[in-house]
């Protein structure tokens, strides 16, 4: 949902590209090429990626003194504190398509995915593989064995090698967003989208 309070939006800007480059490398900027970013902010900032076909409609809305509730592809949220950028699951899937491999990711077993989809943390015992780089407190994707991104979490480890020292019941990623949100609190209760 849009930030609370008076929302303002602007079309264009380089912040998203900077964060994507910082997290995933310069080569994945291709994942957002062909789109124009739109930033809508109040207490936090939501980022959307617009195809050219959407620009005229968005400009008409903005010039009428209103703001869109959402537009185009939801790219994620910019924050003042760490993590400075929480990418959307769709953006991360595109990044992996461009890269042809996972980075900043944890592959979860089927039962781990099920648990994560209820907003619970990913445990070592359900983690099949780890893909560097991972940084403690920075975003990490939870991917299924089918290659889909099911959650975004904050890494509890500073590198994949640390997993070997964890017990099966230790958290590897603190989940801050999972796809179950859309069918759970996202539409009924006032559960926050990102638990951070």
């Amino acid at each position: 949902m849009p930030p609370k309070g008076t929302v303002r939006c602007r079309i264009g800007g380089s912040e998203l590209e900077e964060h994507v480059t910082r997290l995933y490398g310069a080569e994945v900027v291709r994942a957002i090429a062909g789109y124009v970013p739109m930033y809508c902010w109040s207490s936090f900032t939501e980022v959307y990626l617009l195809r050219e076909e959407l620009l005229e409609a968005v400009e008409r809305i903005l010039s009428s003194g209103r703001v869109p509730y959402s537009a185009g592809l939801y790219a994620g949220r910019l924050r003042r504190s760490r993590p400075k950028f929480i990418p959307s699951h769709i953006l991360v899937e595109r990044v992996y398509e461009v890269l042809g491999r996972y980075v900043r990711a944890l592959e979860a077993a089927e039962q781990g995915v099920r648990v994560v989809l209820y907003g619970r943390d990913l445990l070592k015992g359900s983690t099949l593989r780890c893909f560097e780089p991972v940084e403690r407190g920075e975003v990490v994707s939870v991917v299924g064995t089918d290659g889909r991104v099911y959650a975004i979490g904050l890494s509890e480890v500073g590198s994949c090698s640390e997993l070997g020292r964890l017990r099966a019941e230790d958290a590897v990623a603190r989940v801050i967003f999972d796809l179950g949100w859309y069918l759970r609190g996202g539409t009924v209760a006032r559960e926050r989208k990102y638990k951070v």
Binding site: I90, Y150, V188
Partner: protein, 341 residues
């Protein structure tokens, strides 16, 4: 006649005067308000057909699954996953991404891993697939979805457009709007701009901007009795008139936002003529800017009513289409395609 909206009060008098003991008896045995059954007799013309329809409303709704090809290019991938769960699916001949659920699997459609995991499919009644198919938007269109939430038809149109072109999805209801946004994100739709606003204000924001528009109007849901039996008793005639007035205002605004030559698809999940033929006729007569055209799909749907309790509708209204559960095996629905002049 001053207007078709004003004629509704005369219709109500005629409904009441046509309510006899047979109407009361049938209404009581099926658990309906009497006035509804009196209307069904007027609409369908025979008791035999009224009873057929009432019996059809008692049967379980045939569900359909629409595979989200925006995220899964090959529908077979999703079909095979559902078949592995015990489902039996039959392709819908007139909608290339959709399947009729011939046999329900071990897990309900809303609880499968594939649904919960995000974006594999949406499930709904078959008739809900009709409005986007009838409007048939392409990647070159600028589309208005004037009452969009929770977004089943918005995502369907985005799919038909191959994720190209542009849809502006408008709705006013806050909670339903969250569901709209959720569906769009979950299903990976990227050619939609959402705007939480009263749909009647659309022309003020956009002017004449859109090449196609869908108004799947808020309605009493008198076609959805298979899903919600409370609809047998919860709608008064005053509720119908209130819904009609809002529908007329929304349809006028939708027409105003479409360029000359553009198309507007008006639909409701209601078989109530008060919300269907009366609404379309009121806008036809008062705007002078639209005409009814044939739907690009046939499917043996029934024509719009030409007369109802002594009120005659213009000839063009017969080009609208009615969907009945006992005739078409779907929920009750109404569709009307209008061309803006």
């Amino acid at each position: 006649m001053a207007s078709y909206t004003e004629a509704l009060s005369a219709v109500w008098s005629r409904i009441r005067s046509s309510t006899n003991s047979k109407v009361e008896e049938v209404a009581s045995s099926y658990g309906y308000l009497s006035y509804m059954v009196a209307r069904y007799l007027e609409m369908l013309g025979s008791w035999e057909e009224v009873v057929e329809m009432l019996n059809a409303f008692e049967r379980e709704l045939v569900r359909s699954v629409r595979v989200n090809t925006l995220r899964f290019k090959d529908p077979r991938e999703v079909v095979e996953r559902l078949e592995a769960l015990g489902y039996s699916l039959t392709p819908v001949p007139w909608e290339r991404y959709s399947y009729t659920v011939a046999k329900v699997g071990r897990v309900p459609l809303g609880a499968t891993h594939e649904f919960l995991l995000g974006g594999y499919y949406l499930y709904r009644g078959l008739a809900s697939l009709l409005p986007p198919v009838a409007l048939n938007p392409s990647g070159r269109d600028r589309v208005l979805d004037a009452a969009a939430a929770p977004g089943g038809k918005t995502t369907h149109m985005a799919q038909l457009m191959g994720g190209r072109g542009m849809i502006v999805a408008v709705d006013v209801d806050r909670e339903r709007f969250r569901a709209l946004r959720s569906n769009l994100e979950r299903m990976g739709v990227e050619n939609v701009v959402t705007l939480r606003m009263d749909g009647r204000l659309v022309p003020k924001v956009f002017g004449r901007f859109f090449t196609k528009a869908l108004l799947d109007a808020p309605c009493t849901g008198e076609g959805l009795i298979q899903i919600d039996k409370s609809r047998k008793v919860k709608t008064s005639f005053e509720d119908l008139v209130r819904a009609h007035r809002l529908q007329v205002e929304l349809l006028r605004a939708t027409v105003e936002a479409v360029v000359p030559g553009g198309l507007v698809l008006y639909s409701t999940c209601s078989i109530a003529p008060e919300e269907d033929e009366f609404t379309v006729t009121e806008v036809l007569e008062s705007s002078g800017r639209v005409e009814v055209v044939d739907l690009p799909i046939e499917l043996n749907l029934l024509p719009g009513l030409s007369e109802y309790f002594g009120v005659r509708f213009p000839d063009g209204v017969r080009r609208c289409r009615r969907v009945y559960p006992h005739k078409h095996g779907m929920e009750g629905f109404f569709l009307c395609l209008l061309r803006v002049l």
